[in-house]
Amino acid sequence: MESSNAILSAVAQQAVTAPVEPRVGAVSSAIDREDRSTVGTVTVDDPRMRCIDVNVYYGDKHAVKDVTLDIANNEVIAIIGPSGCGKSTFLRCLNRMNDTIEGCRVTGQILMEGEDVNSSRIDVVPLRARVGMVFQKPNPFPKTIFENIAFGARIHGLARTKAELEEVVVTSLEKAGLWEEVKDRLDQPGTSLSGGQQQRLCIARTIAVSPEVILMDEPCSALDPIATAKIEDLIDELRQNYSIVIVTHSMQQAARVSQRTAYFHLGDLIEVGETNDVFTNPHHPLTEDYITGRFG
């Protein structure tokens, strides 16, 4: 059998989705530590986004190496791995935020509804409305809470009149679970909220432009446990309407919120699978090392 990557490349030529057989040798001891090819099922039926052979270079540094991964509909997929393994870099490929970095080069295909969003021909502005992003440190705009959420809706033309904007703002805040706390201070600056509230405001801001996929880059790392719990509940609710890709340092968090987990190691996608499986029965020795805490 050819390697899974080669099959997928051939498959992508014809834009046909087909599952790939999992690697033979499902016991971790049977795989060599130095073997960096992916273990587990990278593809899903009817994916929301499909990444094929994605490589990212920062100048000469090869940060993400030949990653092939599918994102399913209405799922939460967690990306875990030690620091500097390329998780955030890979995440930022999905909404072309790496374009803003000097000297960063992304190769490979990132398909969304058949279209390659990594090509230079597509417009990144509507892409970023379809694929939203929540950053590690909450970054609400230094404007009113209302304006924070209305900005996105307004520039994309999703709401024009004051009434429409108000509706969008209320709906987004409700979906983000923030409405009750801020409903009587919408004209206060967004920066006057607490950390957890700010992050939920950023989530509301992302929801306001009706995305299909929400990318979250360690959204709770700057928050206390209670705020973290609230956001994890929120992620669970959002799953019903959006696909969520969450990068996290905390394995417990990955275990709590995600359905699938992908483990990255020094730029390679080492293992991917159902969250339960990955944590209780990892197939690759590197995954096992990370999960059992031999390094992290």
């Binding site: 803003t100 970023r128 950053f135 705009f141 900005f151 950023c202 992302t206």
Partner: protein, 440 residues
Amino acid sequence: MNSPGPTGPSGGADRPQRAMTIVEKSLKRRYAAERRFRAYGIGAIAIGLCILLLLFTSIIARGYTAFVQTYVQLDVSLDPEVIDPSGERRIEVLGRADYGGLVKATLREMFPDVTGRSEKRQLYGLVSNGAAFQLRDLVLEDPRIIGTTVSVWVPADDEVDMLMKGHIDRDVEEADRRLDDRQIAWIDRLIEKGRLKKRFNTIFFTAGDSRDPELAGILGAATGTALTLVVTLLLSFPLGVAAAVYLEEFAPRNRFTDLIEVNVNNLAAVPSIVFGLLGLAVFINFFGLPRSAPLVGGLVLTLMTLPTIIIASRAALKSVPPSIREGALGVGASPMQAMFFHTLPLAMPGMLTGTIIGMAQALGETAPLLMIGMVAFIVDVPGGVFDPSTVLPVQIFLWADSPERAFVERTSAAIMVLLGFLILMNAAAVILRKRFERRW
């Protein structure tokens, strides 16, 4: 363990003690150094403040007297035979009448004992030439006063003014004075009658330049400065901000952009007179714009302040945290939208400060404006940006050159006005910056 001296390897109890004594000994030295350093800082500030105080006191001491002027009260009978013999009250006739003659007649009435031509000339010399024009303006404003006797306060001659302010010493030999004993006697008589007084010098603020110091004012120069600065602001602010935005956001990182940056930084250091030469060669000779106009002055000053504004604006843009830009881009804003709605408003305080600093610099520039002709003697107050005009620094320069003693105090007074402008602009900068400041 109980050995008194700190020699040799001692037990645990001795070693920490030794370290503490060393530390405590060095403390005195360290605190002394700190006190010295603080003293240097305070000393430097004190010297700076002293020099500033010296500057202000010397200017104010020499200039505050210019805000009062000596006036003479004359009861002029507006003889209709002299002003309008035909009685038709036509403007051209009224405008050309011999008002000077009326003033002289009034003076002769007040001092009937004065005879002889040279004596009478000396008498007439007590009052300014501008008295005639003052009468003319009164008549033109309301021709009905012809035939009546009006009491007007006319400015006295600048030599009389200098005497009243103590700059002409009465004890000096008559031959060494500008006013002889007879004139001083007449002046004393006028003072006794209450017809010679020092009043607030409105002429200084309402008149344009003049050869006679008592008739000279800064209105022309102040208006010229205001017009020139308005042109400079309207041109340099948008251009500077746009250039900074382009260089920061959209310029590709290549050789050409580096060349632009090097040139912008260099232009900030070019001597200002070079811009004047450029203005003369390009704006006046090539484009044929009117010489000495605030428009050309504004264009030249724009070229001069543009590098300052660009550099300050770029620094302001760079200081906006990238997380805000990322947040905006993440929601799907285009680079222009992220710039205009988020980065630019946050960079505005720095940009405004840079602009006002540039404007304050332009306010005091003389050399480039001399080159484009603003050194001319211009009497009229400019009406628009195309009229010939002069600016305050040039006016100060011209007055400083004039021989009449009365111009000395007026030069200092004009400097005070210029400094007042400057302080106002800097205050505006501080207020604007505070208003636009936001916390992120």
